[in-house]
Symmetry: C2
Subunit: 253 residues, 2 copies
Amino acid sequence: MPRYALLVEYDGAPFVGWQRQAGSLSVQQVLEDAAAPLNGGQPAATQASGRTDAGVHAEGQVVQIELSAELEPLRLREALNFHTRPHPVSVLAAARAPEGWSARFSCTGRGYRYRILNRRARPALEAGRVWHVQQPLDAAAMHAAAQSLLGRHDFSAFRAAACQAKSALRTLDRLDVARLGDEVVVHTEARSFLHHQVRNMVGTLLQVGLGRRPASWPRRLLDGRDRTLAGQNAPPEGLTFLFARYDTPPDWC
Amino acid sequence: MPRYALLVEYDGAPFVGWQRQAGSLSVQQVLEDAAAPLNGGQPAATQASGRTDAGVHAEGQVVQIELSAELEPLRLREALNFHTRPHPVSVLAAARAPEGWSARFSCTGRGYRYRILNRRARPALEAGRVWHVQQPLDAAAMHAAAQSLLGRHDFSAFRAAACQAKSALRTLDRLDVARLGDEVVVHTEARSFLHHQVRNMVGTLLQVGLGRRPASWPRRLLDGRDRTLAGQNAPPEGLTFLFARYDTPPDWC
């Protein structure tokens, strides 16, 4: 079965998340069903570089898809964008998968952005794309605290109860917090993240930004490895999957 | 009646535009109805610095509102943001109106942004916020052509058939076109615009960007003053009202 790579943008709002789930609409189902006309009428099998939760968006999700026949990547992209309509899922680029390449297992880095709208007035234009926090946040204090989480650690304190990873050891390469006008924007990157890790880190940093906890608190939480003590899990709508890195990236077209 | 100024953000998608219209939902109606509890139960009278069409968004619309009683601007803002829910209209700031100030007639400059998403794949995240144009655009050629429209001219060639302005003389202060990644973004500013002027100018510049017309064409159209020859009226969803300028700006809080 020829394997292809897809670069995919989606609005997470109407979906139960990336992963197929009986009785609910997932991004995976939209893509697999859209590929059926190109796959002898059968839904095609896909795997994503990062499984996003319900409500989480993607600007550069990378997906592998198996088709029964060879197809020009350009035609694949156009056909999928025709058949995914009217769902807010768009294939930005497609490629023949490199030899031995897996969207998930070949991925060497994943990047996310988390947007906090930090003003009194509720969002009108960015509703569903930001976490609205009305109390003023100290972004510099959040950034300073974030730096203490970088490196290789057991991130048990920031994992979801339902997280299925065998080990909680992860290497956090970037966790930057910056103010951009009314927004406080978090950028983070790691080879991989635990389930809810980004949103739990953001919810924890928020407590520092509000002045309720000192900048040393997130690192103390990390060292304590107790999942029940972290800040709230930040809501999904502020989170966007930005990119997946590969040593041998697909030759997009 | 005390007069207040409001700085307002809205998503134009669900509205027939700024202006009240029987049987359809307008931004004006949402704000006037939301103010009723602060106005002895009666909808309050409003006027906007710029009346936007159906589907056109605003990040910084300025609105005047007359209330029957004095009110702290901060309380006014909070109360309106409570009562405008769940509509995508948000009051970012409020102020007591300066003496003799009118949102519409004191305004000395209005700024708009028009966003074109210029890529093959349809928008997923920016659907309803951009004009999707699949053929590659030459933004530099569009910018060069745009410069020939600056200054004081009769803009009849770019007005709507329904435009009610007595004179088509307007002074265009800025019309910049720039590429930002996948987007071609137009910024424009004038003391005032004719009805549909911005969208007609964008639709005309698009013909230059596609290479179908020379960079000299928009100026020839302008000089010809014939409303029927311009490019298509660019769709409303790409347009956002950004700001209104005043010699004596409201003291926002």
